[in-house]
Amino acid sequence: MNVIVERERGLLELEQRIAELKAQAAQQPVDMSAEIAALEGKYAQIQREIFGTMTPWQRVNMARHPKRPLGSQYIAALDQFDELHGDRHFRDDHAIIGGFAKLKGRRVMAIAQDKGRDTKEKVYRNFGMPSPEGYRKVIRLVKLAAHLGLPVVTFVDTSGADPGIGSEERAQAEAIAQSLYELADARIPVVATVIGEGGSGGALALALADRVMMLEHSVYSVASPEGAAAILWGDAARAEEAASRLRLTADDLVRFGIVDEIIPEPLGGAHRDPDAIITRVLDRVDVALAQFVGVDPDVLLDRRYAKFRRIGAPS
């Protein structure tokens, strides 16, 4: 059970009572404003208690919240989008959506991971776990973007690359390695935003970028907390403990120089106001892209090299 969903339950009940009272007040001549204000005060207080300071594990759960805005919603909010399908070899991977787009009038190549909302969609999108074909589609789209001079914009949200038999047979490792390899020398700006879960190499394959941003309550980790706990203690149930050690929050990663910018979420998380957060993310992507306009591709590549070169280098 998602710990954020659990903690939200009380809040939602309170929210409902306030709405009921307001409806009553509108129909009856009795003044209930004091009562309503009291409840609203209580509501705000509980909200601050729950969301004011969040533990790493709570953030993991927020990043996995069943109502969290998904990659496809960011894509849908673009001015214009024309999806390009498939890897030209095997099939079209639905865990990754990509295509030509316009973002605030700017022509871009947009690529998003999507986990799916309901059961049917989740199965269709393989729960957001890309197969090798997904990464090969990314490679193709990045090549195309570089060919035409379009910046690449990615939205990262995956628990990790698909670990199935078919993915291994079609060389998942090679597909991710080559996606990184393509981004390493793509002569166009690349801006990546982690909107939910940044699950290890399966996420990084879309995030070797000139600017890396994270939503405030998204997470980005070398391994899933469950996977880490299983390896460290042979007990996936100790995921909460693992989450607190992996340093997977946006704050941690800015401190390490791995993430460039944190995009704040409304109190209670992105799903409390999806339209606002999606607009805010697209605004920040646009600002980032504007900074790269006119930058010589050689300079861009040198900076990209230097940006990652210093991570973990001796000081």
């Binding site: 038999i165 990184l180 070398v222 992996l246 340093r247 991570i311 973990g312």
Partner: protein
């Protein structure tokens, strides 16, 4: 072959208590093997041809013509996350240093193989399961950068469980960092051969291992992205024995070739011969002109 000076220095002390024991059991067929015989047979079981995992310096000794000049050996990992699980990370490192007589999970340097000067990197599973942390990443990047400057071909032997958890995202980022170095090296004409040895998985297989111009694998090596156990848990069934082996991947088209350890050096020399200086070769080969 006389033991080169650098290797003898490395081996002044016994590698481990195990080393004192002169017999070892083949994990594949159970055969008891006299260790000096095993070493003489390139750490391959004389009965079932099981390829033992090799110590990085034994591997280097097996390949190089004479000298080996190590680079980046002075770099040792810190504890950027202040990590503790069952034991603190610095203690694990200390233990591995003692056990393996290595300072990290990879040894990098310059040497020559079959007369070809090369940059050589050899990972060692004995140190933190060959996992890639900041120092492994940094050593690899330095190797490729210096090979690029010196215009040398680069050979990397991989053996790794993936990114090192104890260094968190700093470890994951080494996938990006090494990729950038490999790409720049190749874009400027560098020739890169990788040899995937048992086991090569996770963040290492998903970065520099599979970015080489020619990707070789040692016979029977386990190679993949996800670990075998993770896949079995996901699909809730046992995997076939040959799944994720070098031979399996060769069949699927993911590798250029699978070689036995006995053939390895000759194969590498032939591959170096095809690629090194090929751009400068006369337009009509000598055998045709004659």
């Amino acid at each position: 072959m006389a033991m080169p000076e650098w290797l003898r220095l490395r081996r002044a002390q016994p590698v481990s208590a195990e080393d004192a024991a002169q017999w070892t059991k083949c994990p594949s067929c159970g055969e008891m093997i006299y260790r000096p015989d095993l070493a003489a047979n390139l750490w391959v079981c004389p009965r079932c041809a099981h390829h033992f995992r090799m110590h990085a310096f034994d591997r280097i000794a097996m390949l190089v013509d004479t000298d080996f000049t190590e680079i980046g050996g002075e770099l040792i990992p810190g504890d950027p996350l202040g990590w503790t699980d069952k034991v603190p990370y610095p203690q694990k490192l200390e233990r591995d240093r003692e056990k393996s007589k290595l300072t990290e999970g990879i040894v990098c340097g310059f040497s020559s193989i079959g007369g070809f000067p090369v940059a050589l990197g050899v990972m060692d599973f004995n140190f933190r399961g060959g996992t890639m942390g900041t120092v492994v990443g940094e050593r690899i990047v330095q190797l490729f950068e210096r090979a690029r400057e010196r215009k040398l071909p680069c050979i990397v032997f991989t053996a790794s469980g993936g990114a090192r958890m104890e260094e968190g995202m700093l470890a994951l980022m080494q996938m990006a960092k090494t990729t950038l170095a490999v790409r720049r090296f190749q874009d400027e004409g560098g020739y890169y051969l990788s040899v995937l040895t048992d086991p090569t998985t996770g963040g290492v297989s998903a970065s520099f291992a599979f970015q080489a111009d020619v990707v070789l694998a040692e016979a029977k090596a386990a190679i993949g992205f996800a670990g075998r156990r993770v896949i079995e848990q996901t699909i809730r069934q046992k995997l076939p024995e040959n799944f994720q082996t070098a031979e399996f991947l060769l069949e699927k088209g993911a590798l250029d070739m699978v070689v036995t350890r006995a053939e390895l050096k000759d194969q590498l020399v032939r591959l170096l011969d095809y690629g090194v200086g090929a751009k400068q070769q006369p337009r009509v080969p000598a055998e045709v002109r004659a």
